[in-house]
């Protein structure tokens, strides 16, 4: 169907609940399948809208390839994605949940390192003394790269991580990390500390739309309100 609108929503946790509430609060009641693990849903009295529950990262990808018309995901995931992909996606609205910061964290006991300027200094030091580079573990290689380079930290090497990045400095996989955090508790519990000026990106949940579908989506977005 040409006028069918496909919306991608996060499939897990608080982000899922809050996203469903966001639509419900605007009079668009989301109906999930009775089967607990089914990934599809609908909106009451809107036969031309289809809901798909997906991994937040997947939502960005599928907005880019045209499978989804609208999606809720994190700003961090959009900004981390390939520039060609980003150019295909509009940030329709920043939502008031899913707040989290992407930050640079160092071990608590690196008491001499408080700022990026310190980090820059020791990275050159490591390079000079050992001819190796400071290793930075991260799930966000692109954002981390851009940030560090813009702050003059050039002597480093990225270590891609898929999870539990907080452990990396203490098992010899990296020296420092960048990670997403909302309360800072996981970092603190793992003896890590955010640098004073180490905020890379302040992220939140966003309503995204596929640029190509802008005209077709007009009426529906209007019904969502501003």
């Amino acid at each position: 169907m040409k006028d069918l609108i496909t919306i991608g929503l996060p499939s897990k946790g608080r982000l899922k609940e809050k996203s469903i509430s966001f639509f419900n609060d605007r009079g668009l009641k989301i109906i999930q399948s009775e089967k607990e693990r089914n990934y599809f849903g609908t909106i009451e009295n809107k036969p031309d809208v289809k809901i798909i529950f997906l991994h937040a990262k997947e939502i960005i990808q599928r907005l880019g390839d045209g499978t989804l018309d609208i999606g809720v995901s994190g700003l961090d995931l959009l900004k981390e994605s390939d520039i060609n992909l980003q150019s295909k996606i509009n940030i329709q609205k920043k939502l008031d949940y899913g707040n989290a910061n992407l930050v640079i964290a160092v071990p608590d006991d690196w008491i001499d390192v408080q700022t990026i300027a310190d980090l820059e200094e020791i990275s050159f030091d490591i390079r000079l003394k050992r001819n190796t580079r400071l290793r930075v573990a991260t799930k966000y290689p692109n954002l981390t790269n851009d940030f560090l380079i813009s702050k003059g930290v050039t002597q480093y090497k990225l270590i891609p991580s898929l999870g539990a990045t907080e452990t990396y400095p203490f098992i010899g996989s990296s020296e420092i990390i960048t990670d997403i955090t909302s309360t800072g508790k996981t970092l603190a519990d793992n003896n890590l500390r955010v640098l004073k000026d180490g905020l890379i990106l302040s992220s939140k949940a966003c309503l995204f739309t596929a640029k190509k579908k802008a005209t077709k989506l007009q009426p529906f977005l209007k019904s969502l309100g501003r």
């Binding site: 071990p107 006991d109 790269n145 020296e175």
Partner: protein
């Protein structure tokens, strides 16, 4: 003349000046280059994974490729190359392939002689292909270093300014920070001092994320003692900015630098190591000296130059004494 013919004439000049052909590998170990030239390089390299898991890339630049080849003892030290280098250049419609023709003196032992040799060979070759209105622009990263080292400011600021000279955008940010003297957070400083005394009792060889406790405490201690604020930030920035405006005929350089030193109450002998630049007067060419120059290539350490025909840049290069060190051994080099 057609471009193929042109390069033949140029290569002939290279050869007659004693440069030997280097044919560096097309495929290079990607990690080896990134480890040494930085993460930023990665995005411009064309790389792929080999079956054994090793990441390889097409040679992104013939200077780097020639250095590697030299280190593997495949070439002599005075080389020329002519070939393609492969990299992304960012802009749309870039075709990945860059033709590069050039000379290098790797492991240069005689600074003045080798700097001159490279620039005069380039000059000869552009004359051979009958380029008109030849002009040369030179600079010297070494002069900037001499200036910074002569100024009174904390050591870490000196190192910082020298390290980032080649990144004008960030350098400007540093100057602004230096002017306002923003560097440290007093609150965390106090609590950490407490931690400092606690940590002093620990096993000093214990390693935390790759750094030993003694290393951390030593730097912390140095940081406390290194003056955080100093009165002259503003004045120093003004001197640096004035220096970076120097742009004169090579023949006037002595006078210009002397005036600069006098006006800013600096010792008149702070710029002593620029004989290599002075020596270029022998070329009998129209040469301009510019301090704010050679700032786009990270690895230059001394003399930098560009040759123009009219307004068109036809050659550029410089001395890079540290690149070979980062690629494996300590050796000075000059390049076109």
């Amino acid at each position: 003349m057609k471009s193929k013919k042109l390069s033949e004439v140029i290569i002939k000049t290279f050869k007659s000046n004693g440069f030997v052909l280097s044919e560096p590998d097309v495929l290079l170990d990607s990690d080896y280059i990134i480890e040494r030239s930085g993460e930023k390089f990665r995005s411009s390299m064309l790389s792929f994974d080999r079956e054994d898991g090793k990441t390889m890339c097409l040679r992104p630049d013939l200077t780097v490729a020639s250095c590697i080849s030299f280190l593997q003892k495949k070439t002599s030290s005075k080389i020329y190359y002519s070939g393609q280098a492969y990299r992304r250049s960012g802009g749309k419609g870039s075709n990945f392939i860059n033709d590069q023709l050039g000379i290098e003196i790797l492991g240069s032992k005689n600074l003045i002689k080798d700097d001159f040799k490279v620039i005069s060979t380039i000059l000869n070759s552009v004359k051979k292909i009958k380029m008109k209105k030849i002009k040369i622009k030179v600079g010297d990263i070494g002069l900037f270093k001499s200036l910074i080292n002569a100024l009174e400011m904390p050591e870490r600021w000196k190192l910082r300014l020298i390290r980032h000279f080649w990144r004008p955008g960030y350098f400007e940010e540093l100057l602004k920070r230096l002017e306002k003297n923003t560097d440290i957070d007093a609150v965390t400083f106090d609590t950490d001092k407490k931690r400092f005394y606690e940590m002093k009792k620990f096993d000093q060889n214990k390693v935390i994320a790759g750094r030993s406790i003694s290393e951390i405490l030593k730097r912390f201690d140095k940081k406390i003692k290194d003056p955080r604020s100093f009165a002259d930030g503003k004045k120093i920035v003004k001197i640096i900015r004035t220096f970076l405006k120097i742009n004169c005929k090579l023949s006037k350089l002595d006078e210009e630098l002397l005036n600069f030193a006098k006006k800013n109450n600096l010792k008149i002998n702070i710029f002593k190591n620029f004989k290599s630049i002075q020596n270029l007067k022998k070329l009998n060419q129209d040469i301009n000296f510019v301090t704010n120059f050679g700032r786009d290539v990270e690895y230059y350490t001394g003399i930098v130059f560009e040759v123009f025909s009219g307004t068109k840049q036809i050659a550029s290069g410089g001395r890079y004494d540290d690149l070979l060190k980062s690629l494996g051994v300590t050796l000075p080099s000059v390049q076109q």
